[in-house]
Amino acid sequence: MNEHHPNDAGPPAQHSPTEHSHAGHSHHEAPRAAALELRVRALEQQLTAKGYIDPAALDVLIDEYQTKIGPRNGARVVARAWCDAEFRRWLLSDATAAIASLGLTGRQGEHMVAVENTPQVHNLVVCTLCSCYPWAVLGLPPTWYKSAPYRARAVKDPRGVLREFGVELPPTTQIRIWDSTAEVRYLVLPQRPAGSEHLSEAQLAALVTRDSMIGTGLVGSTALGDATDAIDGAP
């Protein structure tokens, strides 16, 4: 497969991985994208020919993560915890079982821990070593979660990182950072927004953002990430 590797020398130096993923359509990126397309197709064909891969299963897998397994699942968990005190206690003491009771189980959700935000403590989740993320409740991780700047800075400069997401916490709030270095996956239970008492569980779930369940957003805040979601993320 060595003939597929010349582009492994890397992109032009001014392109970080983060920039690359957001500038993938520029002209000088086109040859790189075409080479990657070829490499992936070649590998899929080889693995299929050797009897390891069923291409039809790849289509189903992609559909699962594009349409079924995503942050709306985690939002259901959060909204239930806001509405049902018994469920909240269960979630905080045995998250894997409580989340499974909503039919959310499986890959990268085998060992769940839910951590609750309060006025005193704000939780923030990172994986400094790779990109560990609770797929079963949040789906595939966003690019920034896998990127070097987030992984490098979340543990050392959490307030600076939160500021980049438009989140400013009171100086008295402790920031509790969970580095997912093993197979335990963390879900942040955000604070329920004030004045939301009249909302139904489904309406509450609609307010819960992906970033608020990682800890880089607040529910009901005008955080930059949330605003971006509202403008660009509408299906």
Binding site: M1, H4, G10, S16, P17, T18, E19, H20, S21, H22, L36, E37, R39, V40, L43, E44, Q46, G51, Y52, D54, A57, L58, D59, V60, L61, I62, E64, Y65, Q66, I69, P71, T105, R107, E110, H111, T128, L129, A136, L140, T143, W144, S147, A148, P149, R151, P158, F165, Q174, I175, R176, I177, W178, D179, T181, A182, E183, V184, T209, D211, G233
Partner: protein
């Protein structure tokens, strides 16, 4: 050290901005979902375990120049070669993921908890010191948390030990703990105060009594 990871980024100086991303934006090129699906679908075949996958990725010398799905692709190519999957006589796959198996297999997952083979050495509240240096193999103790004193906060039972599992040396289950550190312990007293507590999930061999 002969083993070198290029992925251990915690606490490093990386100045690039963090770019927020809308919820529905999952992929940035048509080949990316294909790579994601290939990697997930290769899991049940038994070609490699998750720790071998991580080791293959983090040892790519150009790790920092690649986008995340490029890293996944390069590591999958490397493992497919190393494990003989592309050879003339490939080992038989344990299970080929067919379309109708995808949903049940994803939802079943593959738990990493195992029956403990010894009593746990530590309990919540215990003060522990992490080992002073990373071992010369794939490991899950980040460099920033080496040689630091913290407090055991939670226990998670015994889990598959990545340090052995990544190298085909068996699962060797070890007790897993959440160990929390004061920020000054990790970054020094001169670092501007954040008001933060940082934890890692540490396997028992990473810990000594403090």
């Amino acid at each position: 050290m002969s083993y070198r990871s290029y992925a251990d980024l915690g606490g490093q100086s990386v100045r690039d901005p963090i770019v927020p991303e809308p919820e529905g934006e999952l992929f940035h090129a048509p080949w990316e979902p294909r790579v994601m699906a290939l990697v997930v679908a290769m899991g049940p075949t038994g070609m490699s375990n998750i720790d071998m996958n991580r080791a293959a990725r983090e040892t790519l010398p150009n790790y920092r120049e690649l986008s995340y799905y490029e890293i996944w692709l390069a590591a999958l190519e490397k493992l497919a070669q190393e494990k003989g999957v592309l050879s003339d006589s490939p080992p038989a796959p344990k299970l080929v993921l067919r379309a109708d198996l995808v949903a049940p297999v994803i939802r079943q997952g593959s738990p990493f908890a195992r029956a403990p083979t010894a009593h746990a050495r530590y309990a919540p509240g215990d003060r522990v010191r992490t080992i002073t240096a990373q071992p010369d193999n794939h490991t899950r103790l980040p460099a920033y948390a080496c040689g630091k004193v913290g407090t055991v906060e939670r226990m998670h039972g015994a889990h598959v030990f990545p340090d052995t599992n990544a190298h085909g040396l068996g699962e060797s289950p070890q007790w897993l703990y959440t160990v929390a550190f004061e920020e000054a312990e990790l970054w020094g007293a001169r670092q501007p105060r954040q008001g933060s507590i940082i934890s890692v999930d540490a396997f028992e061999p990473y810990l000594e009594p403090a």
